[in-house]
Symmetry: C2
C-alpha cells in the first residue's frame, strides 16, 4: 500500500466527510480550489499532535482523530471564527486499516458537526504524527485576539478547567484503575479524549470580549499569555475558578488529592475551553452567558507592574498557598 | 528552550520574512487573520518533507528550508496560482540554533522572492519533519487542474526532467566524488537542493493549457496521473524529452550510464517542473513559450483503451527498449 498518496486516507474520509458548496475542487489534485465568501477575513490555524507528546502511545484512534481536529477548531473558536476547510498531514508508522477507519471516524464526525470539509493533505511513513490546518471566516475586522484586554476587564473562563488533565491522569498506567466513582472517571477521561471546541461561544464573544485565548496549555499560563499580549497583569480569585462535579467527587473519594485538583485546574492543559476578558460595560451581556451556567468570572485584569507577577492567584484559604507555590510555572510565577 | 511555541522559529523568520499588506494579524495569536482579495478563488496546498524519505539525513538546512517551501509553491504553480501565505509545522529532534538559522534562510529567501508571508505554525520535538501549507489565489474559475486534457492535446514539460534525481544520486555516499566535470555535478546537485517552482509559467499556462501537474514523482508517472485524471492515455516520444547539458556531460564522461539517465529523466522525482497538455488550437501561444527554450513538446494525449498502457514511451533506438522495460513502474507500465 503506497503511503505517498493521500488516496489512502481520503478513502476513509469520503463516506463520512462534509461536502461544502464553497469547495470548488477538493482532495485529488495538486491543491484544493476554494471560494471564500466576500466581506470576510480568513482565519488560518495549524496544530500538530505527536504520539507520546500530545496523547499517550496507544490512545484510541477515534480519540486521536477527534482531538487532531478539535484542537484546531478550538483555535478558530478563540478568534471568534466559523471553520470551513481543513488540511491533514498524516505521518503513520504503517497503514493499519482498522486504525485509519477509527481515526477518520473521530475526525469526520466532528467535521460534520461543524461543517468542515477536508480539502487536502498528504500521508507519509514515519512516527505517528498528525498535522492539521483549519481555515475559517470571520466578518471583516471583528476577529478576537489575545491583545485587547485592559485593566479593569473581567477575566472569564468557559467550562470547568482541569477536567482534561484529570482525565489524562486517569489514563496513566498507575491511575488506580477501579477506584472511585466510575461515572466521574469516565466523564473526566472523555474531557481529555473528546474535547468540545467552543465555536458557538467564540462567535458570541465577538461582541462582548476584549481578548480571547483557548486553554490548551493550562489556565494560569494561558491567562498569562492573554495578559502579556494585552499589556496587563491578571489577578485570579481561586475560589471563583469552577471545579466540575466529577473532579470534586474523585477528590472527595481520595482518588485525587486537593493539590492534584489545583494543579489540574490551574496548570493542566488540553481543556480547549475559552479564557477571555470582558470590559465592565459589557457586564450585562456577560451575565446572559453566565446565566447559562458554563461561563465563569474568575478574576480581573490590572495594570502591569514590574514588581508584580504577571498572574497572581489569590485565595483566602492559607493552607492552599503551598500547593499554589509548588505549581509548575509555565506562566511567570504566582503571588499570594 | 521550549519547543512548544512558535516563537522559536518565528525569531529566525522575522528578519528575513516577507510582510504582505493582506496579513491583518500574523504569527503569535491563536491563528492568523488574512484578507483574501475579492473575485479570486483560494488555492490550498500541503506537503510534508521527512528526513531520510524526502531528503538525505544530514542535508544542508538551507536546502531543506528552500525545498520545504518550493515543493508547495510548485503545487500552487501547477494550478496557475499566485502564492500569498504559508504555515509551517516543524518537528525537530533538538533546538539547534545554527540549523534553524540556515533553515529559515533557505525558506525565507524563496518566500521573499515570491512574496509569501509566513503567518503561523508550530514547533514540536520529534524526528526532523517539515510540514508546510501554502495559500494562494487565482481569478475565479481559471485554476488549472489535472483533469481537462483531451485526445489530440500536446504533452509538454518545462525544464529538463531528471536533473534533480541525478543531483540526488550525486549526493549519495557512493557517487564517485571527484569524477567528472565539477560544474555539471554542481549544477545537478543544485537542481535537487534548490528547485525552482515554476510560478510564472503556471500563471502563463492558465490561458493555454488544458491540464497541468507538477513533476514531483517522476515524469512518466506524473504524466500518467494527468492522463488518468483527464480520461486519456499518453504517448511520449523519447527523442523529444529534453536532457540537460550537465546530465549529458556526465553520461559522456561515464559518471552515469545511459540507462541511469533514462531512469532519472522518466522516473526520477523532485524536479518540480510542470507537465501539461495544450490543445492544438493553442499551438501558436505554446510556440512563444517554446521559443524561450524552457518548454518542450514531448508527446500527445490519445484515446484511452483498456488494451493499451496509460503511458507509452516510444523510441526509434531499439537498444534503449531494455532500459525502458526495466524502469520502476510507479506509473502503470510502458509500451513499445
Amino acid at each position: 500500500m503506497a503511503l505517498g498518496e493521500f488516496e489512502l486516507i481520503d478513502r476513509y474520509f469520503r463516506e463520512a466527510g462534509c461536502r461544502r458548496g464553497d469547495v470548488v475542487l477538493g482532495v485529488g489534485d495538486d491543491g484544493a480550489i476554494l471560494r471564500p465568501p466576500e466581506g470576510f477575513d480568513l482565519i488560518a490555524v495549524s496544530d500538530t499532535l505527536v504520539e507520546g507528546v500530545h496523547f499517550p502511545a496507544g490512545a484510541p484512534a477515534r480519540s486521536v482523530g477527534h482531538r487532531a481536529l478539535a484542537v484546531n477548531l478550538s483555535d478558530i473558536a478563540a478568534m471568534g471564527g466559523a471553520p470551513a476547510w481543513s488540511l491533514l498531514a498524516l505521518t503513520l508508522p504503517r497503514a493499519d486499516e482498522t486504525w485509519l477507519k477509527e481515526f477518520a471516524k473521530g475526525f469526520s464526525l466532528l467535521a460534520l458537526e461543524h461543517e468542515v470539509s477536508l480539502v487536502g493533505g498528504d500521508t507519509t511513513r514515519g512516527p505517528l504524527m498528525i498535522g492539521v490546518q483549519v481555515l475559517g471566516f470571520v466578518p471583516h475586522g471583528v476577529a478576537l485576539r489575545r491583545a485587547g484586554g485592559r485593566p479593569g476587564d473581567l477575566i472569564c473562563v468557559s467550562g470547568t478547567p482541569g477536567d482534561a488533565a484529570a482525565g489524562l491522569a486517569l489514563l496513566a498506567p498507575d491511575a488506580r484503575e477501579g477506584v472511585g466513582d466510575p461515572i466521574s472517571r469516565a466523564a473526566l477521561r472523555a474531557r481529555f479524549e473528546y474535547p468540545t471546541p467552543r465555536l458557538e461561544l467564540g462567535r458570541q464573544l465577538r461582541d462582548i470580549a476584549s481578548a480571547c485565548i483557548d486553554v490548551s496549555d493550562g489556565l494560569a499560563g494561558d491567562i498569562g499569555k492573554l495578559a502579556a499580549s494585552s499589556g496587563c497583569a491578571a489577578v485570579i480569585d481561586l475560589e471563583c475558578v469552577p471545579r466540575s462535579e466529577a473532579l470534586a467527587t474523585l477528590v472527595r473519594e481520595g482518588v485525587f488529592e486537593e493539590r492534584d485538583a489545583l494543579r489540574f485546574m490551574l496548570a493542566g492543559g488540553d481543556d480547549y475551553e475559552l479564557a477571555f476578558t470582558v470590559p465592565p460595560e459589557n457586564r450585562e451581556a456577560l451575565a446572559e452567558l453566565e446565566a447559562r451556567g458554563d461561563v465563569f468570572v474568575i478574576g480581573t485584569f490590572v495594570e502591569a507592574k514590574a514588581s508584580e507577577p504577571l498572574v497572581a492567584i489569590r485565595t483566602e484559604r492559607q493552607e492552599l498557598q503551598q500547593y499554589l507555590d509548588a505549581l509548575p510555572s509555565s506562566f511567570d510565577h504566582f503571588g499570594g
